[in-house]
């Protein structure tokens, strides 16, 4: 099975202290450390496990600049067969639809049976997967938490609000957005990364993809961020000042009142 996984490089929320920049329209990006968007990492792991079961290839792709090669290398070290960087000045400032357009044109240049994305990016809006599927006219399933390969189709499990699960049959080719927890992504150590340090990563620009210039980039973006802020702390917290037993009883009461106990 030929599998494409779309990944993204994001500031790692567990290793950064996110602060607003002086202009108040973005976060302070000096001194940030980045990593692979967590759900994307689960998507890559799932692709690798499917490949190891049924054979085929795993390609990872990202849209970005030179710096974004770092996450592609990490996924290569995990075991992806190849990685491609979609990069061109004309892509800068694309909104979700622009990114989906770029990926669509990339998909059309190859033959992929299955396309995976993470359920959403840490700093994203969970929109690219769905749009990409629509543009390709492929079926789409979101929040996928299990995949079984069958002949020409997949059985995918999905999480339903409230902890329930459903299983759907979906025809190939299709696009799936992968939920964290679907597997346990393998560890990528220093050694793995070093071993793929010299693997060439092809870069596709606007001409290579044959993208319509008017469909991507800042000019084409129809969704624009107009504000970015850290919400003020609200006063919803209640401090409990009783003994341990009293506090425990009170917590139980509060949880029950909110419907947390059945």
């Amino acid at each position: 099975m030929e599998i494409l996984v779309c990944v993204r490089r994001v500031p790692d929320t567990s290793e950064n202290e996110i602060e607003l920049n002086a202009a108040g329209n973005d976060i302070e990006r000096d001194e940030l450390v980045y990593s692979v968007n967590e759900p994307d990492n689960y998507a890559v792991e799932e692709a690798l496990q499917i490949r190891d079961r049924v054979g085929g290839n795993v390609t990872v792709v990202t849209v970005g600049g030179e710096d974004d090669e770092e996450v592609l290398r990490r996924e290569l070290a995990m075991g992806a067969n190849q990685a491609v960087l979609l990069s061109d000045d004309a892509f800068n400032g694309s909104d979700g639809k622009g990114i989906a357009t770029l990926l669509k044109d990339f998909v059309k240049k190859g033959h992929y049976d299955l396309i995976l994305t993470g359920v959403q990016a840490d700093d994203g809006a969970a929109q690219v997967g769905g749009m990409l599927a629509a543009m390709l006219d492929y079926p789409f399933a979101s929040l996928v938490s299990s995949i079984e390969v069958e002949d020409g189709k997949l059985k995918v499990g999905r999480e339903i609000e409230g902890g329930n699960r459903e299983v759907n049959e979906i025809d190939l080719p299709c696009v799936l957005s992968i939920q964290t927890g679907i597997n346990e992504p393998r560890y990528v150590g220093m050694r793995g990364i070093r071993q793929v340090a010299s693997v060439p990563i092809p870069t596709f620009g606007i001409a290579d993809l044959g993208v319509d210039k008017g469909a991507v980039g800042e000019a084409a973006a129809k969704v624009k961020r107009v504000d970015y802020f850290i919400p003020a702390l609200s006063k919803g917290a209640e401090m409990l000042h009783g003994s341990r037993e009293e506090n425990a009883a009170r917590v139980l009461e509060l949880v029950a009142a909110k419907g947390g106990l059945k």
Binding site: E31, S35, G189, R191
Partner: protein
């Protein structure tokens, strides 16, 4: 078999000489064949450099092998073993003589003729008796008293009792046969009123002589030849059977101890034959299949005597984690026996993890070293665990709980993912800054001494207090010191022990460069893990001391004086951190500091010093989510309570995390508290006289 009674008692064995010779040849051939088969995996194993320092190694053979140094740590079993061992050593020449006598009846071991020989005979009569009695006692212990440490939990297979008793019985048989052989001839001489060699009074041969004394000469002859045959057959059966089980240590222990690891606190390199700069070319890291172990580690598997002392002292085992060092070895040995059979071809190797070991088993170890400290045969565990972890890391087989901190160590240089620029924030507490401001070393700010703070003390709110206490003490004794601040990354001590060697090398190289650039003459740290890393894992840095050593020295020199302890009713118990105590032998310095505080009453926990009980492990172990019945820390805190203590003094920030948590979990809040040695010293130190020096030492921070 026997035929006509020979004319001379001295010629009793001659008619059966060919039979005896055949058994000799067969026995020796069998033994050599089996040993050759057993050695086969060792030749397919990884290399291991154990050929240096022969005198030190011989010294250890004298101490641990001949001297049985560690055996009395378990009194009863230890003394029993020493008696058996001494008996065997004494009986070696006698056994050899007996074997030759079957072929050449009048053989006498050179040097053991005449009077010396007579004394030797008397001694060995007693030796055989003592060994026989020890066997009886050992069998009774195994069958009646059943010491808990011999039990085999269900997940590790069936009990080893039958095998143990069988082996003990064989040795007992050997002793009886030997004694009967020795007794029958003097009985024959006595019967013929010839001068008979005297047997040792009340020894086993002496008693057997009385038993057989009334028999006819022919019967005695038959007894003599039969005893010889039983002795010979048992001897060779034992010799050939030992390589199939725990008694192989009789042959291998000498080599295991000679080649044992000499340096505490160190780790083996990834590959002994690959220099660090060529590690990139190594195809596979660590131990994944059996042949990835080194030959010495395989020898360890053969040498283990299944005494259970390692598991008995293992805190992971005590807490119900799926790890017992004993079975790490036993399982590997069973694997070796199965895959390198005595008859038939060696089988293909399969991965160890998932077959004989589980992932949790290998991650459960805190590398505290209690097992290695206890093992009478110096079997190594930490290097094997780390090698197995290197293999898992290489395969990407790492629990999610550990992946985050490892990634953070890679990108931020600390497991918490905190910003580098906040590394020195612990110094910026106003009331601390007023008394003691700290230099951050760079080109313009120089000092003699570096205080290496390490991650937890820098970033953890609670542990920052240890950093401030350490700094105030250093300032008080007039030390010209500073810290590296943002330039300091995690020491990498646990990174290395969790098997991520290349990440460790990156951290070490970064820190080494930063330390060298700072131009300091020496390093002080309050974190035993950093101390061990800087001392043993780093090669190119100035000498390092733990703060307890510095304080102890200054107390001794009279440069530190203490106020009376505030509450004289409290009882203090010092908890030895593994990487200060066992791995670096610093036991007395922290205790001497406590004893120098007037009015402080100190008690010792039952398990202290080299038998200290790990509180749960440090570094990355704090992130790992073990499968366990209870926390090690809770067990430790209860031990302190049992010792009558209500304050636990530690000298390690990780111990503080574990013990303070454990006090809460054990429900001992209010009854028990924990304090770091530096905090206690900081509270009680007499300050005024040194105030000026503190200020001069810290100008310019």
């Amino acid at each position: 078999m026997v035929g006509i009674l020979p004319a001379q008692i001295t010629d009793w064995l001659i008619p059966s000489r060919n039979l005896f010779l055949t058994i000799h040849v067969l026995g020796v051939a069998c033994f050599l064949y089996i040993v050759a088969k057993r050695l086969m995996p060792l030749f397919r194993a990884e290399r291991d450099f154990r050929f240096d320092r022969p005198l030190t190694r011989l010294g250890r053979v004298l101490q641990y092998w001949l001297g049985q140094w560690r055996h009395p740590r378990y009194k009863f079993a230890g003394i029993l073993h020493i008696l058996i061992f001494a008996g065997f050593i004494l009986l070696a020449a006698r056994a050899f003589t007996t074997l030759i006598v079957g072929v050449s009846e009048n053989f006498v071991m050179p040097g053991l003729s005449g009077r010396t020989g007579h004394i030797y005979d008397i001694l060995t009569d007693y030796a055989a008796t003592v060994v026989f009695l020890c066997m009886v006692v050992a069998v009774i212990r195994r069958l009646v008293f059943k010491p808990a440490r011999y039990a085999v939990p269900a997940q590790y297979g069936k009990a080893h009792t039958a095998d143990a008793v069988f082996l003990l019985a064989l040795i007992a048989t050997l002793m009886v046969a030997d004694s009967l052989f020795a007794a029958s001839k003097p009985a024959g001489h006595a019967l013929q009123s010839q001068p008979a060699e005297a047997l040792a009074f009340l020894s086993l041969p002496w008693m057997l002589q009385i038993v057989v004394g009334s028999a006819s000469l022919t019967t005695l002859w038959v007894v003599n030849v039969s005893a010889y045959l039983v002795h010979e057959v048992t001897f060779y059966f034992l010799l050939c059977y030992r390589p199939f089980g725990i008694q192989f240590h009789v042959e291998t222990s000498l080599f295991s101890i000679y080649f044992a690891k000499l340096d505490r606190g160190t780790l083996k390199p990834v590959r002994w034959d690959v220099p660090e700069e060529h590690l990139d070319q190594v195809k596979s890291f660590g131990v994944k299949k059996f042949e990835d172990f080194t030959w010495k580690h395989m020898l360890d598997f053969y040498s283990c005597a299944d005494c259970g002392r390692c598991a008995d002292n293992c805190p992971a085992n005590a807490a119900g984690r799926p790890l017992a060092p004993r079975f790490l070895t036993i399982k590997a040995r069973d694997y070796a026996f199965q895959h390198y059979p005595v008859f038939g071809k060696a089988n293909n190797s399969e991965p160890l993890i998932g077959n004989i070991y589980s992932e949790d088993e290998i991650w459960s170890c805190t590398t505290c070293g209690a097992c290695e400290e206890e093992c009478p045969l110096l079997v190594e565990y930490i290097d094997k665990i780390v090698d197995l972890r290197r293999g898992m890391i290489d395969d990407g087989n790492v629990p999610q709980s550990l992946q985050k901190p490892l990634k953070a160590l890679e990108s931020r240089g600390n497991p918490y993912g905190k910003m580098e620029k906040k590394k020195a924030d612990w110094t910026k507490v106003p009331e601390f800054q007023q008394t003691c401001s700290i230099k951050i070393l760079d080109r313009d700010h120089r000092a003699d001494t570096l205080y290496f703070v390490d991650s937890i003390t820098s970033y953890d709110d609670r542990m920052q207090s240890i950093g401030r206490a350490t700094s105030r003490i250093l300032a008080d004794i007039g030390e010209n010191f500073g810290i590296l601040g943002a330039a300091e990354k995690d020491s990498g001590h646990e990174v290395r022990r969790f098997g991520e060697e290349l990440l460790f090398i990156a951290l070490r190289d970064h820190n080494t460069d930063a330390i060298k650039a700072s131009g300091v003459q020496r390093i002080v740290t309050a974190d035993p893990h950093a101390y061990n890393a800087l001392k043993h894992d780093y090669t190119d840095v100035p000498p390092v001391e733990h703060i307890s050593q510095v304080i102890a020295r200054e107390v001794k020199a009279g440069n530190i004086q203490f106020h009376r302890v505030e509450d004289e009713n409290k009882r203090y118990a010092y908890h030895d951190p593994c990487y200060l105590g066992r791995h670096n032998q610093v036991y007395d310095d922290p205790r001497s500091v406590l004893d120098a505080i007037p009015g402080l009453k100190r008690v010792e926990m039952k398990r202290s010093r080299d038998r200290s009980f790990c509180c749960g492990g440090g570094g990355l172990m704090l992130f790992y989510e073990p499968k366990e019945e209870q926390r090690m820390g809770v067990l430790r805190v209860r031990m302190a309570a049992d010792a009558g203590a209500n304050v636990i003094v530690t000298a390690c920030p990780f111990c503080m995390v574990n013990i303070e948590d454990a006090i809460k979990v054990a429900g001992l809040e209010g009854k028990m508290s924990a304090i770091d040695l530096t905090e206690l010293v900081d509270q009680n130190i007499v300050r005024a006289s040194h105030r000026e020096e503190c200020e001069t030492a810290t100008v310019g921070g």
